[in-house]
Symmetry: C2
């Protein structure tokens, strides 16, 4: 390895270290709580070192949103793809999402819930990144439902975007109320609601997953 | 009016003026954005004047949460009570909530959605006030559904807390997605979902409101 490669390697390691911390801070206190000075102190790095890695507070916020998206994909999106397309995959995707929230992959609950509420009424690149992340997730839920439709597993006339909206609503609200009240009850309610929606949408004769 | 009464009167007027501004700021930027200095500058008051009225940043935040609750009750809770108890009142409560969000009574959308996400994973009196506001609202939705049950308008065996959870989920998500994407579509989806839930829960023969 050349000296330059070594430096790049070290830089990437430090970046990873910083981002592992920033996603946790942002999930509890918000993306605005990410300041270069604070991270330097907490991670015992120099301020100029953190600056050299990210350039600005905004770049740090954007990198944090990307890192959270990577973790989310690893915990929810990718493992759900191992279940065959159909109602079972939609259910699995929802179960993995609830588990991702319940075990607090991010200490403040779903990373994107907090980021959405923090940046929804603002403008700028961080707002745009959060909007994109939410659109991608909604589109992924719709796509997964649409696969079930294409596999002949949904009743004719099922309104796919409507069903996606209702599933996302149950997931998000379970996360929000669980974090706010420190309770697990909302996850059970979300599971019950999602199972009801999927039971209602499934075509006759489709073998249903083990619903609650 | 005595001189003391006059001072109290003026103080109350200024308090009202400050709070009308703080609920708007907090709904867009969060309760943490409420600093005594900023309000003094924006409202052309002295810092010591704002301090004299609220005592501390935390008191200012708590007074802002209370003011938002007052406005919410005026726009949603109180007018719904004019519809007779039953499925129609549940529907009216949801319609008024969607309207409260849609017309942006607070410029950042539902005040409590933002406050919940900002304070959910923290501790302290502001967190407690936000928790209380959310519990009161959930309890009010449950109570309104329970009145419909008591009036014989719901199927036997309707799970009241489950139905309340699902209605709240549709409302909150409509607000969140509308504010984030600057779209009205989510309100239509929430109305469709709420009408479906109420149609499913209503006892046979109960005259249903004009659903979409």
């Amino acid at each position: 390895m050349t000296r330059v490669d070594g430096r790049v390697e070290r830089g990437n390691r430090t970046r990873g270290l910083v981002l592992r911390r920033t996603v946790d801070i942002a999930s509890v206190e918000g993306l605005e709580a990410l300041t270069v000075g604070r991270l330097a102190t907490e991670l015992e790095l120099s301020k100029s070192g953190v600056f050299a890695l990210f350039g600005s507070k905004q770049e740090l916020q954007l990198a944090t949103v990307r890192e959270a998206g990577r973790i989310f994909a690893d915990r929810v999106v990718r493992p759900a793809a191992r279940t065959p397309a159909g109602v079972a995959r939609v259910w699995r995707l929802c179960e993995l999402w609830l588990e991702y929230s319940r075990v607090r992959v991010f200490p403040g609950g779903c990373f994107f819930y907090g980021a959405m509420a923090e940046f929804d009424a603002r403008t700028g690149p961080v707002h745009d990144a959060v909007v994109r992340a939410q659109r991608d997730w909604s589109a992924h839920v719709e796509h997964t439902i649409d696969e079930a439709r294409a596999a002949g597993e949904l009743r004719a006339g099922t309104d796919v975007p409507q069903l996606a909206f209702e599933l996302v609503a149950l997931l998000e609200t379970a996360n929000a109320l669980s974090v706010l009240h420190g309770e697990e009850t909302p996850y059970g309610r979300a599971r019950t609601g999602i199972a009801d929606r999927l039971r209602g949408a499934a075509a006759d004769g489709v073998p249903l997953p083990q619903f609650p």
